[in-house]
Symmetry: C2
Subunit: 397 residues, 2 copies
């Protein structure tokens, strides 16, 4: 049984807001607060330390990992949850470099999300020994892989443009050049169909606070291809990735399978909220979701281009090459986004000139999208963005 | 103004339970669930992405860090929060090794909490190049420091015995041998007075789910001595430790001060709960807390030794050498702890034979301690632990 989208009744949607920023922080699922209260008041408050067993806390990272696995085409037991996406990037890169000891280059997209590049730089700086990070543009990527490339780290859907790599083709090219493939699914999980198993990629990582609606700072996830996981010696070898955490052994022995990618004590309250947020996905067919997503973004592009000649599409025009987001370039994009927010349409701005809009079919419909385009048209027609109050940069945009 | 201890009215204390496991997971502060609901329903639900500014989410790790700083004798701005204790150990060790490039040894206590040793092993394995972890016993520690020792990593209060290192004296010895000092304050923060500034230690790390009552998987913290932080290039160089996270620069530039030890997007719900849990500490004088803690543990030792000749004290007898916990050795300790829990006294067991009891003066009084000792005495008198139902090991003890 699949759900007819959208399912607005399952989410808290503030009145007079059209939320096109679910690709940055997804909205609150109605089930989240009750689950948080149960975890806090019943489990923590009443069971106390016993809740690690009685309330299933020890298993929660695995349970949640398996629910995410289904959404990204990964087999049961292949996804571990916890920590942040940056930490998971580090774990995957460190493991990938160990798999190709004679190669010294991490190759990535120069437009990749900065934290992925920063974590690579930190890892390289920690190891030393001639390792380097090389970045090239999307179009230069395949030609840039050479016999020094240990691992290629790419974000499947570009955070600025929404441009989507062909996961299967790129993975094949990377692996045929002898390198290891790491995909960042931050803008893919819950947004577009992903078939990790079919791609044969060795690693994938992602976060759960965007399309999966896990809440601010929700736990991240990491996928390791099952046939290689037994050989991985985790760099971040924490006690909950140990084969027997409570045996309190002196030496690290990795746990079975992807469980070894766990590190420290997991954030139980946030995992419980994420688990509640994942309930809605049990009935979602990713092909249906993709259809709805494309319809929303096609409609938005058409309406915006009709109304706003000063905005230039910064995303691929072919929906097959886009994720579930659409960006437009505008020199005064920062102010225009602030003007939009002031009128109840929440999108976001990304340096240097990108107005970004995410389309989350679980709680957006075509009327929302048309209305958002109409308000954007009014702002552009009247230069409403040209107001000092929209020019001041806040800390987070 | 200081609080007269205990302040049981501020906590949820389940009926018919005497909780001597606050050193593993502290009880629920009454303020926590309202704060969680505010964060979830108002901030996330209504403000959505705007809450990073409007609800102060971006600043929350720093705000919480400053509140913890006061409890461990650290200056404002010197403590960053987030991630897990294991991650913070890795960050501190990686930074320490960079400070002493000619030295290859991490020295630690063979009885240190395993995850600290595991993280050191993972770091060494990542770097390679002849680094090693050397562990010795508490009594051998000072003699084991040599001119290859880059960093000494010690848990201030031993998780099994409760034995406490003299922070100032040990730090002085370590530094006079040219090594860097890293303290793990897992069983110290909120348990015993700590004066990091006076100790001159370079690094300290800790968790907040024990004596600080931050809840299961609450965020960890890291202290870096202010005069050295500007030279640290973080190994885990995530975007929220960048000088300008939202400038989306290609290259990592560390943020000012200890903020550079932040990594990825912080767990906002758990940070908010921890912030609420820290409210009670604003009125607590650590010297008063220590007095109450010693009174509780002295009473417990006296009562248990009077009633239970088969139990052997596994903690230092001198309270000045103990943290806020007391352990007894007993061959059938696991079963005895289960029998205690079945009668409403929650302590915990640590391999191989340690019955461990934590004393949290915020919500325990002398009557609790006497009653717990009495129940333990009854169990030992009647061999009530000698029951198959108490012998089966659960996953977490």
């Amino acid at each position: 049984m699949t759900t007819i989208l959208p399912r607005k009744d399952l989410f808290v949607l503030p009145e007079d807001i059209i939320y096109l920023d679910g690709n940055s922080l997804g909205v609150l699922p109605k089930a989240a607060s009750d689950r948080a209260l149960q975890t806090i008041n019943q489990e923590w408050g009443q069971h106390l330390i016993r809740a690690w067993n009685s309330a299933g806390w020890m298993d929660l990272p695995r349970v949640v990992g398996n629910r995410i696995a289904r959404l990204i085409g990964a087999p049961e037991g292949s996804v571990a949850t916890g920590d942040t996406l940056s930490i998971k990037v580090y774990q995957a890169l460190a493991a990938a470099l160990k798999m190709r000891p004679d190669r010294k280059t991490i190759l990535s997209d120069s437009g990749n999300f900065p934290s992925d590049l920063y974590m690579a730089q930190g890892l390289i700086d920690t190891i030393g020994q001639g390792y380097r990070l090389k970045t090239v543009t999307h179009s230069e990527m395949l030609d840039a892989i050479d016999d020094d490339t240990a691992v290629v780290m790419l974000t499947h859907v570009d955070y600025r443009s929404g441009q989507m790599y062909d996961m299967k083709a790129v993975t094949e090219a990377v692996q045929s050049a002898g390198a290891v493939m790491l995909w960042d699914l931050a803008h893919s999980a819950g947004a577009v169909p992903v078939d990790l198993a079919a791609s044969q990629a060795e690693f994938a990582v992602g976060c759960s606070y965007k399309y999966l609606n896990g809440g601010p700072g929700a736990p991240a996830f990491i996928y390791v291809r099952p046939d290689i996981v037994a050989d991985i010696q985790p760099a971040l070898s924490g006690w909950l990735g140990h084969a027997a955490p409570f045996a309190m052994e002196h030496d690290y022995r990795p746990a079975f399978g992807t469980e070894r990618m766990r590190v420290g004590t997991p954030p139980i309250v946030q995992l419980a909220i994420l688990d509640a947020a994942l309930d809605v996905w049990d009935e979602v067919d990713m092909a249906d979701l993709r259809k709805a997503s494309v319809a929303l973004s096609e409609c938005f592009i058409e309406e915006v281009e009709k109304r706003c000649p000063d905005l230039e599409l910064a995303s691929p025009r072919d929906p097959a090459l886009r994720g579930s987001q659409v960006s437009f370039k505008f020199e005064n994009g920062y102010a225009a986004i602030q003007a939009l927010i002031a009128r109840g349409v929440i999108g976001d701005f990304r340096e240097p000139n990108i107005m970004r809009f995410g389309f989350t079919p679980l709680y957006l419909d075509l009327d929302d999208v048309r209305k958002a385009a109409q308000i954007l048209g009014e702002i552009m027609d009247t230069d409403a963005w040209n107001d000092p109050k929209f020019m001041t940069r806040a800390k987070v945009t």
